[in-house]
Structures are given as structure tokens and as C-alpha cells.
């Protein structure tokens, strides 16, 4: 599939933003919200910026963005529609959470409740995003049991790494937080490797014989209907990823998982200070960059069934 930058940015940024939002909401519910006012509000602000930026970027992918409001109508059948509604609905408790925190100065009582609702909205929205891909029958790499847990895991992982960086910078961090972020990063790495192993053996869900209705033997494409690339080849026949697959996977693993995990362990083991702050910030930046490569591969490596007609 063609890896559109708008969609890569959308899934990566909203994933990290919703992860961060959900963690802040859950911490407030558990009475463990960051004590200071500004780290909490800065975290919430960052989450909302990531979410809003991601959603706006996804609108950039549309042919007619001015009609985007129509996408809220088909929630009964469409995961994309559900995602849109859930994303907009989540802004309400998230806004109340931030406003209450700002006005009352603490994340307790109804403010914590709003935080919990925002966390729920965040999880639902990430699930909807994942299901947009996980429900597409023609793409075996997406319609797999790895897709939905993967999206949730990478959102939680990048959200936690961001939260750790934020709290380390404000002096509210700690070894537990950094350690948890390292553990989640390693879990994400294991999940990614397992997904790739699955993807590499997942063939197309149909054969060229059933696609053409010609049973038995071999069916070879000897002439295409067009001499230049058409929409199908541009959108569904993307092949660059296959050429650079191994190198890109190494880059994604290093930036997204290995380097952040090492940095986070370093942050957890060193006493609070410049090293902890630097390692935590670097881990967050590195992981986001790695996830962008990971997401590029998620799109670019996916093979669409229609390519059976083109012998690709």
C-alpha cells in the first residue's frame, strides 16, 4: 500500500497523544497525578496538540476535506466514522479535565472523573483507528490478530515514554516510571517482531486462479490494461518497501525500541539529575522517530489482493 505521510503522521501522533492522555487520566483517577500544576497541564497540552495535529493531518489525506463533517454519520457500519466520533467526543472530557485541573489546581474529584472518561475515550479511539485497518479483508497483513493489540501497545508505550520525559524534566519522575516505560518498550519490540514474523508468512487471502475464475494450472499476467501506472498501481501496488525492507526494519527496531529501552534503563538506574533528564528526553524523541519508520513499513509492506490481477 502507498504510505501516505499524512496517514503515517496521523496514526503515530494520535497514538502517542492518546497514550499520554489516557495515562494522565488514569493517574488522576488513581490519585497519583503529578503533584505540580504545570507538568500535568503541560502533559495534557502536549497530548492534545499531538491528537489535534494528527487528526488535522488525516484530514489532509482527504480528497474533499471541507466535507469531513459527513464522516460522523455512518457509525453503525464504518470504523472510520466511529473513530471520528470517538475522537471528537474525547475532546469533551479531556477539555474538562484540563480546565478543572487548571481552575482547582488539583486533579481530584470530578476532575479525576473527567480524566478517567478522557482515558476511556482515548482507548476507544485508538481501538477504532486500529480496526479501520484490521477490518480490511483484502490486506492480510492488516487483517491479523496483531493489528489491534499492536496499536494499543504502541500508543501506551509512546505515551508512557513521553510522560516519563515530561516528569523527568519537571523533577517529578522516578525510577519506577522510567522502568515501566522501558518494560513497555521491550514488550512493544517483542510484539513488533512477532507481527513481522506473521506478516512475512501471511500470503494473499485469494489466489490468481480464484481471482480470474480460471481453475488449475498457472495463470500469468501477460498484458496490463494500461501502459502507465494507474490509481490501483499507485495506491495499492507500492513496492519500494520490499527492496529496503530489512534495512528499514533494523532502523525501526533501533530507533523505536532498542535505543529508547537502553536510555530508559539508564534513566531508571541513575539518580535524578541531568543524565536522567537527557536520557528520558532522548528516549522519547528517538521512539517517536522509530515509530514513524515502523508505521511507514506498516503501510508500505502491506500487500493488497488486487495486485493478483497485475502479477505483482
Amino acid at each position: 500500500m502507498h504510505p501516505a505521510y499524512s496517514v503515517i503522521l496521523f496514526t503515530t501522533a494520535t497514538g502517542a497523544g492518546y497514550g499520554l492522555l489516557a495515562l494522565l487520566g488514569l493517574m488522576a483517577l488513581a490519585g497519583m497525578a503529578p503533584p505540580g500544576l504545570w507538568p500535568g497541564l503541560f502533559g495534557l497540552g502536549l497530548a492534545l496538540v499531538l491528537i489535534t495535529g494528527g487528526l488535522l493531518s488525516s484530514a489532509g489525506h482527504l480528497g474533499r476535506p471541507e466535507r469531513a463533517w459527513r464522516a460522523f454519520s455512518q457509525w453503525r457500519s464504518s470504523w472510520l466514522s466511529r473513530e471520528g466520533i470517538s475522537a471528537v467526543a474525547t475532546f469533551v472530557p479531556a477539555g474538562l479535565f484540563g480546565l478543572g485541573w487548571l481552575l482547582t489546581g488539583r486533579a481530584e474529584g470530578w476532575v479525576a472523573l473527567a480524566g478517567a472518561l478522557a482515558a476511556l475515550g482515548a482507548v476507544v479511539t485508538v481501538c477504532c483507528t486500529a480496526m479501520i485497518y484490521a477490518s480490511l479483508t483484502p490486506i492480510a497483513q492488516w487483517r491479523s490478530r496483531f493489528t489491534l493489540p499492536g496499536y494499543l501497545l504502541y500508543a501506551a508505550m509512546s505515551g508512557l515514554t513521553l510522560l516519563n520525559a515530561l516528569l523527568a524534566a519537571s523533577g517529578d519522575g522516578g525510577s519506577v516510571l522510567a522502568g515501566a516505560a522501558a518494560a513497555l518498550t521491550l514488550a512493544g519490540w517483542a510484539w513488533k517482531r512477532a507481527s513481522w514474523r506473521h506478516d512475512d508468512t501471511a500470503g494473499l487471502p485469494a489466489t490468481v486462479n480464484s481471482a480470474t475464475g480460471l481453475p488449475g494450472g498457472r495463470v500469468l499476467s501477460i498484458e496490463w490494461p494500461h501502459s502507465e501506472e494507474n490509481y490501483l498501481l499507485k495506491e495499492m501496488g507500492y513496492r519500494v518497501a520490499r527492496k529496503h525492507r530489512d534495512r528499514l526494519r533494523l532502523i525501526a527496531q533501533f530507533l523505536g525500541f532498542l535505543a529508547p529501552a537502553v536510555l530508559l534503563v539508564l534513566a531508571a538506574l541513575t539518580p535524578a539529575g541531568a543524565v536522567t533528564v537527557g536520557a528520558s528526553l532522548l528516549a522519547a524523541l528517538c521512539q517517536l522517530a522509530g515509530l514513524l519508520v515502523e508505521r511507514w513499513l506498516f503501510f508500505a509492506e502491506a500487500r493488497h489482493t488486487v495486485m493478483l490481477y497485475y502479477g505483482r
Partner: protein, 244 residues
């Protein structure tokens, strides 16, 4: 609502005969010609006269080589929307722009509602949908809704443009939901098949497989043609005499 109807009064569709299709592209051009002024108009072409030409077409003809134990055979294969009974292209649509009609089962796009998210084209395994980059909306075969019910054209022309253009009669149109319709009987007789039934889209269109090889082909070869540069015989003598 983009949930599709559980059942439709009719199941209008096409039956394509892979035995007789000669890959002449007449259906392709007549489809483009009719539809670029029809319901989904225009069928935009980008850079039509230079390199990198691209454009929207509802019907494309591929050519395959089918190699079995009996030998190889060239098969021309027209590909257009199959007007599926379980169209995921419709359910994924967030706006309700993609819909399936309860009356005749035709799957259409409402261009006024489409936001151009392209998700429906990802959901179609048959590659039936093409994005119009200039208008920013998705387009697809309409089963020529603006011909088949059109009272301004003579009744015999009220069939899809691709069907009426086909010089070998390889394309048939009718109600595949009615087992007694001529087109359903043709499918029955010729063992017509749905494409990729394992994906569960329940396509309406059927493809008639090429007929079995005939044993009636001539067994005696024709007499060989006369040698163009004869070495012997009368012509050889003439040739030698005149070449002196």
C-alpha cells in the same frame, strides 16, 4: 446508512464470457465514452497526451496466459465492479456516499457526499474503484444506471454501454437474482463462476470459463506453400536461365 440492504428486489449484473472475449477493448472505450458524460461524469484524464498519462476508467481488460496440462491459452479478462451482495466497500464508507440500492442491487457512489478518503478502494479486492484526483472523489462502474432505465433512448439500447459495444457478444446483462432469467440460465448452462468467493463479498457478476478444448481442429495440415527460391524443377530452370 452505509449498511447495505439484506436482500435486493433484483440483482442486476453482468456475465462475462472468457471464451469469446477477444480483448479488443471496445467495452473499455465505450464505457469511458458513455460515462464521461453520464452519472459519474467526468471520467477525468490527467496528462492524456504525454508521458505519465493517468485517468479514471470503470472497466479494464487484462490478458493472462492460463497454462494447464493441456497446454497454454490466452485469456482476455475484463474487470469492472461486480456489484457484490456483501460489499465491504459500502460498509467501510464513513459518509454514506457509497451505497447499494435495495431495488436492483447496483452499488453507487454519491459524489456530493464523498470526502475522498479512499477507504472503499482499499476494501475492494477487485480493484473496481478509481479515485478522481481532480475532483477529489471516488468513482466506479454504475452498471450504466443512466442507460438501463433511460426512457429517452430506444428500448434495445437500454443495456450497459459495454454490453452493447462488445463485437463478440461476450458481455451479458440481466437479473442474476432471478433463476429463470436468460442470464441466470446462461450461467447455469456454462458453469459461470463468481470471482474470489472465498473472500465472502458475494459478487453478483459471473464469469463464464473458456470452453474445453475441441477435438475438431483439423488434423491434416494444408499443402506446403511453394518454395520462394526454387532450386530445381521447371521454375528452377526458368530462374537459372533468366539469371544468366
Amino acid at each position: 446508512m452505509t449498511c447495505f440492504p439484506a436482500s435486493t428486489d433484483k440483482s442486476l449484473g453482468l456475465v462475462i464470457d472468457l471464451d469469446t472475449c477477444v480483448g479488443c477493448q471496445a467495452c473499455v472505450t465505450s464505457c469511458k465514452e458513455w460515462n464521461t458524460g453520464g452519472h459519474m461524469a467526468p471520467l477525468t484524464d490527467v496528462k492524456p497526451y504525454g508521458g505519465g498519462v493517468d485517468g479514471v476508467w470503470f472497466n479494464r481488460v487484462h490478458t493472462f496466459e492460463h497454462i494447464t496440462q493441456e497446454g497454454g491459452r490466452t485469456v482476455h479478462f475484463p474487470r469492472s465492479c461486480l456489484h457484490c451482495a456483501e460489499p465491504a466497500c459500502v460498509t467501510v464508507c464513513p459518509t454514506g456516499a457509497s451505497y447499494k440500492r435495495a431495488s436492483d442491487g447496483i452499488v453507487l457512489v454519491d459524489e456530493e457526499k464523498c470526502i475522498g478518503c479512499k477507504l472503499c478502494s482499499w476494501a475492494c479486492p477487485y480493484g473496481a474503484r478509481e479515485f478522481d484526483v481532480e475532483i477529489g472523489v471516488m468513482k466506479k462502474c454504475t452498471l450504466c444506471v443512466d442507460r438501463i432505465y433511460n426512457e429517452h433512448i430506444p428500448p434495445e439500447d437500454r443495456v450497459p454501454a459495454c454490453v452493447s459495444a462488445c463485437p463478440t457478444g461476450a458481455r451479458h446483462f440481466g437479473d442474476l437474482g432471478d433463476p429463470a432469467s436468460p442470464i441466470s440460465r446462461l450461467v447455469e448452462e456454462r458453469g459461470g463462476v463468481p470471482l474470489m468467493p472465498e473472500l465472502g463479498y458475494e459478487p453478483t457478476n459471473r464469469y463464464l470459463p473458456p470452453r474445453a478444448r475441441s477435438e475438431r481442429a483439423p488434423t491434416v495440415a494444408a499443402a506446403p506453400l511453394e518454395d520462394a527460391a526454387p532450386e530445381g524443377g521447371f521454375l528452377g530452370w526458368v530462374d537459372r536461365m533468366l539469371s544468366r
